[in-house]
């Protein structure tokens, strides 16, 4: 019984490990790309003029209003029609990242608004420009306020990446599918994969909680609970 388990793990282990590494890579890159889109989009929505505000709103609503999988197919299969061809990995990074960016934008927007207008007024009162006030006063507080929501998004990202195997990216799910086909034991494989996701999510949760505790500033954690 134990022997067969060892043999089983030896057979599927290396492949799944490769898959895990790619899954984590997808997670990290997608989060970074998401930050790159999400933060400016949030700022545009709160402080932008009419043009930037509507562009940000359209981006956020479109990406939040349609399934990730559909977005993935549009980017990978659809955009070549318009002359934009991406590799599998690039398509996965772009789609996951832009999708996450739309959600991140809403977390950041909520946090910026939670900082309150008094902070902006006080910053302007000591002579800061709007840009300076955003950079030195509003954003440092908003980012701390957004941290719990952002951490949840970061942890969930591990799970969201699980669809990119459908454009043949060999992530954890991709490897699982190949192994399930090779050994005809899909239930065992997918249960193993489920277990791996649970471990990854648990580890990531532990990491972000640790970071959250480290980043605490007296007074700001109270705000988090309220919003």
């Amino acid at each position: 019984m134990l022997d067969s388990l060892v043999i089983y793990l030896q057979r599927i282990g290396p492949d799944l490990l490769q898959g895990v590494i790619l899954t984590l890579e997808l997670t990290v890159v997608a989060l970074a790309v998401g930050l790159l889109f999400g933060l400016p989009a949030a700022l545009a929505r709160v402080y932008g003029g009419r043009g930037p505000r509507s562009i940000a709103l359209a981006y956020i609503e479109i990406f939040r209003g349609t399934p990730l999988l559909v977005q993935l197919f549009i980017v990978y299969y659809g955009l070549p029609d318009l002359g934009l061809t991406f590799s599998r990995m690039a398509a996965a990074f772009i789609t996951l990242g832009m999708n996450s960016g739309a959600y991140q934008a809403e977390y950041f927007r909520g946090a910026i608004q939670a900082v309150g207008s008094g902070q902006m007024v006080a910053a302007r009162a000591i002579g800061m420009s709007q840009m300076q006030a955003i950079r030195y006063i509003v954003l440092p507080q908003a980012l701390r306020l957004a941290l719990p929501a952002w951490s949840n998004e970061a942890v969930s990202m591990i799970k969201y990446t699980a669809v990119v195997f459908l454009i043949a990216v060999p992530d954890l799910m991709g490897k699982a599918k190949i192994l399930a086909g090779r050994y005809f034991n899909p239930i065992e494989i997918y249960l193993t994969v489920a277990l791996i996701y649970i471990v990854l999510v648990a580890a990531a949760t532990w990491i972000v909680r640790t970071v959250e505790i480290k980043m605490q500033t007296p007074g700001l954690e109270l705000e988090v609970e309220r919003h």
Binding site: I62, R64, G65, T66, P67, L68, L69, V70, Q71, F73, I74, Y77, G78, L79, P80, D81, L82, K159, Y160, A162, V163, L166, M173, P186, I187, Y190, L191, V193, A194, Y197, I198, V201, A202
Partner: protein, 216 residues
């Protein structure tokens, strides 16, 4: 222009996918709702064993990608009974959504002021009557905003049953794409349909939220 004509011809085919998508969503949400309310009640009012079970279920399911749940259930069910991918996928989505909904309802139950339970017991209601007639009705109303969010997620996640061959919108879009060789238009059309569906769902739920709002 032949492609475009193909697309127009196939558009009704794409549109009939809406029925399947809505069917999957409704079954999943109903299953998830029943499971969610049950688990939430167990977690707040149950004994140690049922509390542990409800908490563990929620924790584990929420740590696994929905698509993995769909695969596992699909293969497990296939081993025992002959269930259509449509039902298998819908139930899988429902089991997953149940975990998320249990968190929604747990939060809502905990937001109902403790005095409500006390007042209900004070007029002679049993615990279960108090839960049923006093706490849950209030919790349900409080749960509408986060539940709406979950409903929109399930609607979008219903596209995942594509992987087990259910002919919902996305699967049909793929077929249209293969027939017309116009993937951008085919998947774009699917996106537009999904967007419209989420938009309508959100509006309806917003309305419900306003309609059933109670002051607390």
């Amino acid at each position: 222009m032949g492609f475009l004509q193909d697309l127009l011809r196939l558009f009704p085919y794409l549109l009939t996918g809406i029925g399947i998508t809505i069917g999957v969503t409704v079954i999943a949400l109903t299953t998830g709702f029943t499971l969610g309310v049950l688990l939430a009640t167990l977690r707040v009012y149950g004994g140690p064993a049922s509390r542990w079970f409800a908490a563990t279920y929620s924790l584990i399911i929420r740590a696994v990608p929905v698509i993995v749940v769909i695969f596992i259930l699909f293969f497990v069910i296939a081993r025992f009974v002959d269930l259509s991918p449509f039902l298998s996928g819908s139930i899988a989505l429902g089991l997953a959504s149940g975990a998320y909904q249990s968190e929604v309802f747990r939060g809502a139950i905990l937001s109902v002021p403790g005095g409500q339970m006390m007042a209900a017991r004070a007029i002679g209601m049993s615990r279960s009557k108090a839960i049923r007639y006093i706490v849950l009705p209030q919790a349900m109303r409080l749960a509408i905003p986060p539940w709406s969010n979950e409903a929109a997620i399930v609607l979008k996640d219903s596209s995942l049953v594509y992987v087990i061959g259910v002919a919902e919108i996305l699967r049909r879009a793929e077929y249209v794409s293969a027939r017309t060789l116009q993937p951008f238009l085919a998947f774009g059309a699917a996106a537009v349909i999904y967007f419209a569906l989420t938009f309508i769902t959100n509006r309806v739920l917003d309305y419900l939220e306003r309609r059933y709002k109670i002051l607390m």
